[in-house]
Every structure is written in structure tokens, then in C-alpha cells.
């Protein structure tokens, strides 16, 4: 095996430019798979973290035909609906939440808001953030009005600490506590105040959503259904449904992005095949010599496939490095809006894909080489 690899390296080195271009072809494809794949992996990680945090809760929104994301922003739930929800069988607790996204730099656009103004009953704050969340300072109390608790990302962006003042819509809030980073963009970018204050600031009596804690965590689905049946104009979404919807979206995103990247890697694989075919043609005579002095078909087959796999593997390894770099830059330049993460399984799969491309791409030229007739091949000048 060692000899095979040594000779393969020599042969790859023989046509430096051609080999380098072939390797770059694979590198770009695999790099794209890793970089784009890391975005969906990142999304998945965020979802999983949120799921653990919100597990067992039911989110009640105004019924709408729109997608989940627009639904939260547009949803309105009245005080009366909240009361009705509280009375549904199996509901242990329900609390209304006001949530407004806005942009620190004053511009909207298509990006995710980087500030979420959240109003919630201070005694039920643990229904919004996890009950075992860690924080600096204090959480809100019933008597608080213009005191606020900030998410970690937001506090850092604003450069504020406990005791400092934060301004929202012309109102000044004193920072009372700062939540530790949760990984959930919503929570980490939130400015949480007393529900009554939020109603005053926004001049509204309605909530955006209601968070429901069921009596029995195993019956989340049944309780959600009861809520929808007994309260008019609302839809109740369980964490599981929520997760399923998002995970479907993530699957679609990763299918398209990684799929497109995979196509570019396959084109790289064709490059490997092309290079190997040319290499076999140029080395006809050498292959003929090897066969004349006793090399079997298997020996030639093995040599050419190892060469092809090696080309592809080098491209794959460089691709992993480039992809990791790409993944870091996505996280870095999006300033926390997109979170890209390269998982070991993503890396391993990308490398296996590169290797497979090399082997499959090498099969045809290798068969071609192993079937050369030594007499014919030696006659070739």
C-alpha cells in the first residue's frame, strides 16, 4: 500500500498545474458543502437549545393564514381571550406577552430585528425565559415600572451594564439584570419590562401571544387542541409542532444549499475523472511496461484509483479548511444574526463524499488503464 501511495504522489506531482486545478475544483465543492451545511447545522443547534428551554409550553397566537414568522408579529390576543384560555381544562397557567421587534440602527429591511421589546408579568418571567436561566443583577418585580432585564447580546451591543439607562421609544429604563447568553437570538436580544409598562409604552391593551403551561406535560397536544376548540380565533402551537415546522424549513434550506454545493463538488469529481483519463492516456506506455513485466489488472486498477482518490482527498481536506473558514466568517460578519456551526458529522460526511467522488471518478480511467494490451501500449509513442 505504501508503494502505491508513494507512486501516486509522484504521479500527481508530475503535472503540478493540472493536479492543483483538479484539487481546487474538489476543494471549492467540498468547501461550499461545509460552509453552507454549517448554516443549517447552526440553525438546528439553535432550535434544539430553544426546544429544551421551552419544552412543554404552548404558544397561543391569533389565527392566521400566514407563515409562523409573520404570525407572531401580527398576532393580537385580547384580555378577554386570555381569560378564556386560562379557564380551558388542563391549563395550569397562562400569561400574555407583548413582543415587538425593532432595529437598533433604525432601519428595517429583511434581516431579523436586533431588539425585542418584551412585556411580561414579572411573576411569570420564567414562562418566557427558562426557570433555571442564570443572570447578573435581579429579575423584575411586580412593583417595577421603568426597570428592565436585558439579554446578553443586546446589553453588549448597547454597551450597558447593571444600573445604566436604556432608551426605548423615548422612555428611559434602568437596567436591573442581564441574562446570560442562551443561544436563542430572541431571548438574547430582548429588553424585558413589566407587562403593564409595555402596555403603556405601546399604548395597547392587547398581547401578541399567550404562553400556556399545561397541568400535565404529557398532554401538551390535547391541551393545545382544547384551547383551539374552546377559544375563538386562536391557534395553539406546541413546542413540538413549532420545532417540526422550523425543522422542516431548515431541512429545505439545507437540502437546497447543500444540494447546490454538492453539484459543484460533483463537477469537481468530473474534473478528477478528466485529469485521470488524460493521465492514463499520457502514461499508456508506462502502464504497458508495468503490464509487460507482470502487473495484473488489479494492480493497475488499484494504482489509478489510489491516485484519483488521493487527488480528491487532498481537495476534500483543503475544502474542509476553507469551509470551516467560511463558516467562521458567516458567523463573524453576520454579527450574531446567523450562527454557523461545523459539526463533526458534517465534516466526516463531506470528506467521505470527496473520497467517493475520487473513487467513482477514478473507476473509468482505471478500468481503461487496466485493460490496456501491453503490446499495443508499448507500440504507442
Amino acid at each position: 500500500m505504501q508503494e502505491f501511495i508513494e507512486i501516486a504522489v509522484k504521479n500527481i506531482w508530475r503535472q503540478k498545474t493540472r493536479s492543483a486545478l483538479t484539487i481546487i475544483g474538489i476543494m471549492i465543492g467540498i468547501g461550499a458543502i461545509v460552509a453552507l451545511g454549517s448554516i443549517s447545522e447552526g440553525l438546528r443547534v439553535i432550535i434544539e437549545e430553544n426546544l429544551q428551554q421551552a419544552s412543554g409550553m404552548i404558544t397561543v397566537l391569533q389565527k392566521s393564514d400566514g407563515s409562523l414568522f409573520t404570525a407572531i408579529a401580527r398576532s393580537r390576543i385580547t384580555e378577554q381571550q386570555l381569560e378564556e384560555i386560562s379557564k380551558v381544562n388542563g391549563v395550569k397557567d397562562a400569561t400574555g406577552v407583548i413582543m415587538r421587534g425593532s432595529y437598533l440602527n433604525g432601519q428595517g429591511g429583511f434581516s431579523q430585528p436586533d431588539l425585542f421589546f418584551v412585556g411580561i408579568d414579572p411573576t411569570k418571567i420564567d414562562m418566557f425565559v427558562s426557570s433555571n436561566i442564570r443572570y447578573d443583577g435581579e429579575l423584575l418585580e411586580q412593583s417595577d415600572t421603568f426597570e428592565a432585564v436585558l439579554g446578553d447580546t443586546l446589553a453588549k451591543k448597547l454597551g450597558v451594564d447593571i444600573g445604566d439607562i436604556v432608551t426605548y421609544r423615548g422612555y428611559e429604563f434602568q437596567v436591573k439584570g442581564i441574562l446570560e447568553r442562551t443561544g436563542d437570538t430572541g431571548t438574547d436580544s430582548s429588553l424585558i419590562v413589566n407587562i403593564q409598562t409595555a402596555k403603556d409604552v405601546l399604548d395597547t391593551e392587547d398581547y401578541n401571544m399567550v404562553i400556556v403551561l399545561p397541568e400535565d406535560l404529557d398532554e401538551v397536544g390535547d391541551v393545545a387542541k382544547s384551547i383551539e376548540d374552546s377559544v375563538e380565533g386562536v391557534s395553539a402551537i406546541t413546542t413540538e409542532q413549532f420545532a417540526k415546522q422550523i425543522s422542516n424549513i431548515v431541512d429545505q434550506i439545507s437540502f437546497f444549499t447543500v444540494g447546490i454545493a454538492a453539484i459543484s463538488a460533483i463537477v469537481g469529481g468530473l474534473g478528477v475523472m478528466n485529469t485521470m483519463i488524460m493521465s492514463v492516456m499520457e502514461r499508456r506506455k508506462e502502464i504497458g511496461i508495468l503490464k509487460a513485466i507482470g502487473a495484473t489488472r488489479k494492480f493497475i486498477l488499484k494504482q489509478i484509483i489510489i491516485e484519483s482518490a488521493l487527488l480528491s482527498l487532498i481537495g476534500g481536506l483543503l475544502g474542509l479548511a476553507i469551509g470551516q473558514l467560511g463558516s467562521w466568517s458567516i458567523s463573524y460578519f453576520s454579527e450574531g444574526l446567523a450562527f454557523a456551526k461545523t459539526t463533526p458529522s458534517l465534516m466526516i460526511n463531506a470528506l467521505i463524499f470527496a473520497l467517493a467522488l475520487g473513487i467513482v471518478g477514478g473507476l473509468y480511467p482505471a478500468t481503461m488503464a487496466s485493460n490496456l494490451d501491453p503490446i499495443e501500449a508499448l507500440r504507442y509513442e
Binding site: E3, I7, L290, A292, I293, G294, T296, K298, L378
Partner: protein
Amino acid sequence: MSNVIELHNVEKIYNEGKENELKVLKGINLEIKEGEYASIVGPSGSGKSTLMHIMGCLDRPTRGKVIIDGQDVSKLNDDQLAKIRREKIGFIFQQFYLIPVLNALENVKIPMNLNNYNKNDKEERARELLKQVDLAHRMYNFPNQLSGGEMQRVAIARALANNPKIILADEPTGNLDTKRGEEIINLLEKLNKEGRTIIIVTHDLNIAKRAKRKIMIKDGVLVRE
């Protein structure tokens, strides 16, 4: 002495039954004993290359039987023939046919790689063989850094790598000047004295004459010994 090569009524016909049918060998009978030093001469187109390909198991006869070292090889498949070539026959070609990316030592090791030798044995044996052909000082040179005579000596060392009974040399001096050619023939004669069967295919009568046995081929038949 037993026969290392036997040809019985060997015929080689290209495009048999077609309009452009070409009979290259027309019923050759030939026996070569172990330790013989023979030359095969004939003009171009006489069939001597085809004869050498068949004796070297590079090609199969259309009809007839070929026995190498007691084994009938006429019906063997490609890989089985490769094994015979690797184990029983050492080839020397007019154009040397060294692998350009490998140095002299590595070229000599190839047949042993094909034969699964132990790594250290290979190294040692390859060095020993290069010493035998007076190339101890050229082991790490690549073919393009060697003269024609040196390349042919590397090829001879390679031919000996798997310790074959038969050495088949196809115009071994064709690309060399008289002096270098002489050296190569002397080397082959030395190998014959050590007991190896040497067959030289050539059109050069001076070289052919030096062999103990001269086989002449013309129009696909052996005309005279």
C-alpha cells in the same frame, strides 16, 4: 537439462477468416533448454517480434501449444499470463522502458512490488542487483540522468529482480553505440554463465553469431538453426 520453453505447432493468424487475414507464424516448433544462450534472427516482418511476444507470454498463439517451465500457458487468461511473466521471465527492451518518475533503485524494485516481497528484502536485493550491473553509484539517479548504456543496465537489473529462469532481450543493443552494446552483451553472457537461459531477438548478425544457438525465422517459419 529440461526444456524451459516449448512451442508446438504454434500459429499466429491475425483477422482469421477475413479478407485481410495475415498469417504471421506458420507452425513453429521450438524447444529451448534451461541454461541455453540462443539468438533469434530474421528480417523485419519475419514474425520474430510475434514469436518473442508468444514466448514471453505477452500474446497467445492462435493455434498450437506453448509450455513455459513445464506449464501449458496457451489457454491462460491475462492475469495468469502476467503472473508467469512476473515470475519466470525477465524482459529487456530496445527502448529500455524504465519508469521516468522512479529512480534506478525504485525501477529495479517494481517487479518485487508486484510479487509482494518484504520491504527490507526488496531494498537490499535491488541494491545488490544494481551493484552487479556496476551501477552502485547511480542508484538514486532518474532515467533522464542516465546514459543509454546505464539505462539498459538498470533494465537488466530489473529483469533479474524476481530471479527469473528466462531472460528475453528484444534488440537490447538497438539503441546503443557499439561499445555500450558490447558491454550489454557481455553482461548477458555473464548471466548465461551463471545458469540463466538467455534469448536475444535481433537483426544484428554480429550479435546473433555470439550466441551458442542461432535460430533464424523468415516469413513465419524457422528456416535454419
